[in-house]
Symmetry: C2
Subunit: 361 residues, 2 copies
């Protein structure tokens, strides 16, 4: 398995953090280091980090985080969230959050000492970045940690929809094979005209993989990229030229409901749509209508507008493969995520540049 | 979609077949051709082909085959099979069959006029090729028509097993997402050490695809090939070096139960096995034991020792994805297969070289 190691030049445990003096790290003497090397660091001496949105990486690397930071977890407190936040408002400088945490101006006002936000998501649609910039708060995200896994999952969803793998699995496991001889032919992957909406790091990984299957790649993006794939600035035009769309762009005001009925009808009856980005990039109600009415051929959806709620009309459709926002959910991604997230927090407390900055003062 | 067109130099309908004079084709005069061009050819004048094993391509291209050949179908006759065969024994020169037809010396003795066998399978384990050779019977198979589709399916099965796509699909469609927050992490595709057993046309296509995912490819084969992948002549040694095995070889006496408990244990607890070749290459009983006892991590199986019967112990295992021998089952493959199969039969009756010969006199 592939392991990406993110190393700081000095191990974080060699530093001592003074919670009063912000952003000052005092290297210990060699003697102090040696004398401390066999004893656990007192919890109170660890730098404090408020944790919102309960990042799932804590389910797997909670102990490792807790050995480095004093995690302030509202879900372990008996206080209501607002009161919990106000208790730490004057001192806490770092926030660790997930993509479900709405980082609004109102939340930021509650935390006047905040200097850095580290989010486990690659997407930033949950954060008011302008307000963070105005307040001088640095932001780090998951960067490209998930790109390969998410691209793998996108390709897996596409193969599943075209080749009916989940349907076959259910058919055989329900003991139906000896009873039925005839089943419909599936669709070939190779030769498909695949339009990638958003050619960032995930989109590029999807393109690389699908090229190996013999797919013909085009893309839509804000601007033309230095790649050999055909570029269409307009997503509707891309859809008219393709029979697969793979949604890989960020959710922004511009991409909200970018994929609507008009785009889906342009994709056409043989068209398949894959979404591993954010649910609200597609007008979900119109997508459901198109699928139910057979106006497109199928869909593979890892993300939805109102997670964890999924339109029930999709549950009975064999040409639709659904998953619970887990395209990034691998052991490798989470190990890399743990290293990147803790590395960003360590870098902040060491007064070093963030490892995956979105905003960095 | 990718379309492969197989063209003969002259359309077959321009020829007239004399069933008495074997392998003689008499070109019609231009006048005769023109006068016939608007009328259907009388059925009796079409060359006779006995069809055994009821190839599934006839479910989709039956009319097209019937417009070119007088198909002798035992399943449409009231006669028992042996009697049906003996009725046509003295005249029929061509057999069209599927991979389920056991072409034994005994069957061949029943058809003394047989000159060609065209099989819809890529594998030839159902045929006694030595006996065909001895009797001067030409043989054509599906060649590489299925290679890309089968390779796509193999990769789809591997992604599904590693990334739990079928499991996720069932989880969401059963409405469980809002009820459960925790699910296990999946495994990354990239960085996997993939051993391909049999580096023929399918194996090469699998390798090409998995390279794009960042997998590290090795292979076992009868002899070393001019490729960059690491070569292991022994499958047990390959298994010790890999954590995925993809079975792509032909079923022969040498490969029967090639994958046994010893090989599976060498693959190890993180190991995944994919089989899109033939069921009997794996000792199925030992594979089931290893899966049930957690001695390997998972499997994606399209083929089984005793199809359509699948060991029921596998039905409840989430780490096992099953399908009903459909890795080749796409619209594109079947169109190509129809063209190749009818092209081979036409070539035979035109006394031309077969398009995909295994044995050709």
């Amino acid at each position: 398995m592939q392991i990406k190691l993110i190393n700081l030049s000095l191990p974080f445990s060699l530093y001592w953090w003074d919670p009063v003096e912000s952003n000052n790290m005092c290297p210990k003497t060699k003697k102090e280091l040696l004398s401390n090397s066999t004893m656990a660091e007192p919890k109170d001496e660890l730098p404090a980090v408020i944790v919102l949105g309960r990042p799932s990486v804590l389910n797997f690397y909670g102990d490792q985080f807790s050995s480095k930071f004093r995690l302030l977890k509202p879900w372990e407190s008996s206080l209501p969230l607002d009161q919990f936040i106000s208790t730490h408002a004057q001192t806490v400088q770092a926030m660790f959050c997930s993509g479900t945490t709405c980082v609004t101006p109102s939340l930021l006002r509650q935390l006047p000492s905040l200097r850095v936000i580290v989010t486990t998501s690659a997407g930033l649609n949950h954060m008011d970045l302008d307000e963070c910039r105005r307040l001088g708060i640095s932001v780090a995200n998951a960067g490209t940690v998930f790109s390969e896994d998410v691209a793998d999952f996108a390709v897996g969803l596409l193969i599943d929809v075209l080749r009916k793998i989940s349907v076959a699995n259910r058919f055989v496991k329900n003991g139906l094979w000896p009873l039925h001889e005839d089943y419909p032919l599936a669709s070939k992957v190779g030769g498909r005209k695949v339009g990638i909406v958003g050619l960032g790091s995930i989109g590029l990984e999807v393109a690389k993989r699908l090229e190996a299957f013999g797919c013909i790649i085009s893309y839509q993006s804000r601007k033309k990229k230095p790649v050999v794939y055909s570029f269409y600035p307009d997503v509707h035009e891309l859809a008219t030229k393709c029979n697969v769309l793979v949604i890989c762009c960020a959710l922004t005001d511009e991409t909200h409901h970018l994929i609507n009925k008009k785009v889906l009808l342009a994709l056409g009856k043989e068209g398949v749509i894959i979404n591993i980005a954010r649910g609200a990039i597609i007008n979900e109600m119109e997508l459901v209508q198109c699928l139910v009415q057979g106006q497109i051929a199928g869909a593979g959806l890892d993300v939805f507008e109102n997670e964890p709620n999924v339109p029930e009309e999709l549950f009975s459709l064999d040409n639709v493969v659904l998953s619970q926002h887990v395209a990034f959910f691998t052991e490798d991604s989470f190990r890399d995520l743990y290293e990147l997230m803790s590395g960003n927090l360590e870098a902040f407390f060491l007064n070093k540049p963030l490892l995956s900055p979105v905003l960095d003062d």
